[in-house]
Amino acid sequence: MSAILSVEGLRYAYPGEVPALCGLSLEVTAGRKLAILGPNGAGKSTLLLHLNGSLRPDAGRVTLAGQAADYSRRGLNGWRSRVALVLQEPDDQIFAATVAEDVSFGPLNQGLSEAEAALRVQGALAALGIAGLADRPTHMLSGGQKKRVAIAGAVAMQPEVLLLDEPTAGLDREGAEQLVTVLRDLGRRGMTLVFSTHDIELALALADDVALFTGGTVLAQGGAGALLSDPALLARAGLRPPVLLELWLAARARGMCPPDAPMPRSVEDLVGLLARAASPAQAG
């Protein structure tokens, strides 16, 4: 368990505005999926922009694999090869005419040959499940497709860490579920994921760890299970537990669930728990 990225005492204010980050510290553990969870306007995007050097803090520091951040042009290039950022709005990152062209942009910027870049493009499109879209003009994609193309553009750079700003914003449930599957898959291949979201259900479905954000600081950081099932803590960040956990907690409080059972992550889990409690004879 090593911190691949960490920030300490980060402060930042956009010129002429109130501070967006007010002395914030956070660790990103290699190989895990971290949700930056909080309401809109809490400073989540601003933090992500600091994690790949797009913004430079007013005070505090960012450390990449133990090394203090290097904001020289060269330093930034190396940093962004290791830590890729996917913005919330895919249209802010997709600029080329076709999907394959667009995804090749990052690898070519990394100085790869055309042949290597072509392989990277293939690999990234396959990983995102959009190999069939390679020749599609980028302005003819649906919202969900655009999102995946933007992520493929980052994945093609083979970063160690992938930062995603509100990855499921604007997607319908099916689109969001497909994306979660793809992201889980990337995590399984060893990529570290950090994503911001105001959607606690997404955090429950995808995150190993959660950092609870509010008003430019981290209220709490820890394992997803513990944090997301603490209604008092969530309330302080203006959030409510996921419906599933709310039910679980309510049922447990009334003795309808075994108190020592693990947190349910799906409807099936919870129904199983309730059923076990209702007919204890079947329980393990």
């Binding site: 913005l87 990152q93 600029f95 005419a97 055309e114 980028t138 980052a154 750079m157």
Partner: protein
Amino acid sequence: MSVGTIDRAAGLNRWRHRALAEKLLIGLGFLVLAVGLPPWPGAALVAVAMLGFTFAGARVPVRLWLAAVALPLGFLATGSVMLLVQVGPEGPALAQDGVAAAAQVCLRAMAATFCLMFLAFTTPAAELIGGLRRLRVPAEIVELALLTYRFVFLLADEAVAMTAAQRARLGHSTRRRWLRSSGMVIANLLPRAMARARRMETGLAARGWQGGMRVLTQRRPVSVGMVVLVLVLQVAVGVAATWG
């Protein structure tokens, strides 16, 4: 027709995957013939050939094509009326050779327009712009054009949505309000365009952008058969128009 209608058709027609060089040879080659040859029978032959390439070859949807050609034909109607009339000391009158002159111009302009429409309906604008690179246009200018292309669709969508929102609130109910509403749309569009530019800058920097905008472009193989066919046709049209 919206801003993207023709370009969308260009991305969907049967010749979408033909090499850019072939389509340029057809579109630009015949365009040069249309303007360079005597209109009768040169331009007439070009027009027929282009209709063949457009509909039999690329299978461009006829209805969209007709909707797009309406605008230039409107211009042609007004323009050629001018050629029918002459203005002398005793006022306007029918020009002596006006009909012949107007017919020639109409023929040439129509043939040339069909060539332009062929290119527009078979080749996405981005591919055409990419072709400028090979004409040694500086990379910076080509990249600027490509980014402009990208922004055009995004801003057009925003403008359409803003206009719809204003209509819904009766913003076009009188001419005066319409003018004012249009001004508001434009005034709101400019800062949004600039904000978009800034966000794109961040987004691309995150992808290692250092100034250049190189991407892998797919080069499609040129079909020798097609090139020969087109060249033979063009020579034939040239010969027929010059000695016919």
